[in-house]
Amino acid sequence: MFIVNKGNKSDLGIMKEPGSRSKAGGRKVEKFKNLPFVKKVGFSRIVLTAVLILMYAIFCITIDGFAGKAHLMGTLNYVYFLGFLSLGVTFVIATGGIDFSIGPVMFCCALVSGYCFLNYGMPMGASLLLCIAVGLMFGLFNGYLVAYWSVPPFIVSMASMNIAKGAAAIFTKSMSVSWPLESADGGWFRKLATFNGFPTGLVIFLVAALICGFILNNTRIGRYILCLGSNKEAVRLSGIDVKKWEMAAYVICGVLVGIAAIFFVGVYTTVQPNYGDQYNNEAIAGCVMGGTSMAGGLASIGGTVIGVFIISLLQEGILAYKLGKDVQLIITGIIVIVAVYADVVARRRKN
């Protein structure tokens, strides 16, 4: 026989109340945040889109002739390959890991398969598949070491990066590789990026983003990846083969990097060995800016897409301002710092 005291606060089930700012402005923000539309789309995503539009407006006003097809196409061309890189790295970051070998691996894919096309007479279709296959191989390599051997992801990235650079250089004998122009034999692959002026690449990218979003939110792979990123041990103790799913994230990334390579050469034609580092940071920047948390467990494909647009637009703008690549590097570095710091602060507040 027992009588139980039910008067406890803890019986309400809720322990924490969301911290609300006491200033008047803060209250207005809270009200806006609670609108059903905002809740569905996501507050940060709306802020990001606003930033994107604002940026575009500023560029159009301050740069002569920025508003117009040429710069729009320039931005989109950047979006295609960077977008696939960012989509790929989103899956890896969702598991709480990181992959900054994606830039050099992308180049390795393009170099190896392009070399095969040019020098071994491989048909274009097969070359494209080879491109993706090389990415897949690196994905398997990275994923295996991280998931099955618990090698810290940044070490695997460092090693992979250099292996990719070295392997590509050896394969192409240190020469750069130029993929065929549209008019040339095999040049049809460029239609994937742009078809008679129509940005087919954008369509393909958005479709891919939708598929990635679906995978992340509605399939087992996605559920497991997000959960293990949040608490790997709890997921393991629930009877799930965490190693398999963690590796899967890197494999998905590898495949997307291979696809990114296709779009890179589809737009820019020439790739050279020992290159590609800067795209790592930009891809990660797009991802983290969009709301994917470095700690793992939280990922937003929609946010990544907007983040990619912002970075690409920024890159186009910097070019238009005639600032050098060096400035762009510095700015990207600072942006990533700010984005990741914002993530850290947001996480701390939640706790």
Binding site: M1, F2, I3, V4, N5, K6, G7, N8, K9, S10, D11, L12, G13, I14, M15, K16, E17, G19, F214, N218, T219, R220, R223, Y224, L226, C227, S230, N231, E233, A234, V235, R236, L237, S238, G239, I240, D241, G297, L298
Partner: protein, 498 residues
Amino acid sequence: MGEEILRMEKIDKSFPGVHALDHVDFDLKRGEVHALMGENGAGKSTLMKVLTGIYQKDSGKITYQGREVNYHSTREAQADGIVIVHQELNMVGDLTVAQNIFIGREFMHGPTIDDKKMIMESRKLFERLKIDIDPSARMKDLTVGKQQMCEIAKAISHECKVIVFDEPSAALTEKEIDDLFAIIRDLRKQDLGIIYISHRMDEIKVITDRVTVMRDGTYVGTLITKDCSKEDIIKMMVGRVIYEQPKEKSLVPDDAPVVLKVENLNAGRMVQDVSFELHKGEILGFSGLMGAGRTETARAIFGADPKQSGKIYINGTEVDIKSPQDAVKHGIGYLSEDRKRYGIVVQKTIIENSTLACLEEYMSGISINKSKEKKATEKVIDELNIKTPSSDQPVVNLSGGNQQKVVIAKWLVKNCDILIFDEPTRGIDVGAKNEIYKLMNSLAAQGKSIIMISSEMTEILRMSDRIVIMCEGRVTGEIKIEDATQEMIMNKATRNIK
């Protein structure tokens, strides 16, 4: 007991949404051991954190040695002679014992650290406290119990007048607890004021002079230990009297089928030649002291840790369990001790957590059938009486008891036949505790079989049909509930088999 050395008056502290301390009073005399008791969430740790400068009080007065004080950091409090030994170990694993004890206040020889002197001083300290530990050993090579003793020695090595012990005996063996009490008696003789936070009634009775009880952030009252009974204290802690009678007789028939048979299980030092059987519909209590090897046994059975040898039979057939995957496939569910770290994915919702162990059953093609998930979750929320406004609430927002229920929910949704509960009511308030007991009984009545690991004697005696006792990695006894007594269990839990 001498004159008053510390007085906390009307201490008030709030966090967003929680009034943690509501005008709490507490006083401490020189040369006394004063227990601070209360359920989880009562505010004991918070009060001590306010005292030692980790938190800042909102209002109230703290008087120490006649002057009013208000510390802003542990360093400040330490410098003034108030020291706290935390519940969680705070040791730097890669440094040696001596380096840990003197970290932050090393003996210097110019710019050089004088390691030799640190070792010598540590040795002196250990001799004084009659602790047998090598000061030049690396901290992470020591057992948890020894690390705890180092933690205690470190606290005492500061020149202090007040020491707070927060659940000090949790990781100690019985001998180490005796050593600890000897140290405390010694400190008492030296006229120190000692605050002792613990759940263990028996210890309170042995070592303390007065007991202060807190409940829901308020001060309930102070009793003189030798003049009061356990029931008096419990009454103050919960507000009502709870009768906890041991189970008189098991309802499980003698010929009930054996659902799980473990034979000669070996998994490192902590699991040596363990064998036992679990019957259908039975609650098998696993008793023993901290470090007896019960959790390690459970984890080895569940495949969470590798084992060296041993056979496991489920319903008569031998099974090969090499990982939690295998165990879950065979219908075993494991509720680990530390639910936040091993039981739930804190950032995710109740739905996502509850279907985690059997997501394959909620698929339509390649996509997750979210409405099916939601329905199943809501059903189990109802069954378990989980208090939450909705099923897609992130688990992090729930209270401890409800979080524990979410972990149970996961195994219910999976429909496990064998459940291993490891300290199922640890850190949970009395109300939620009783709900979990009710739940375990109803599961057993439905034909599920439960292994319940618990360090609370009353819990073991109340819930088990049979009891297995472990000591230092071995099974030392197996008794039916009708034959069991506290003394018998404690006897077997401390016996050393050679």
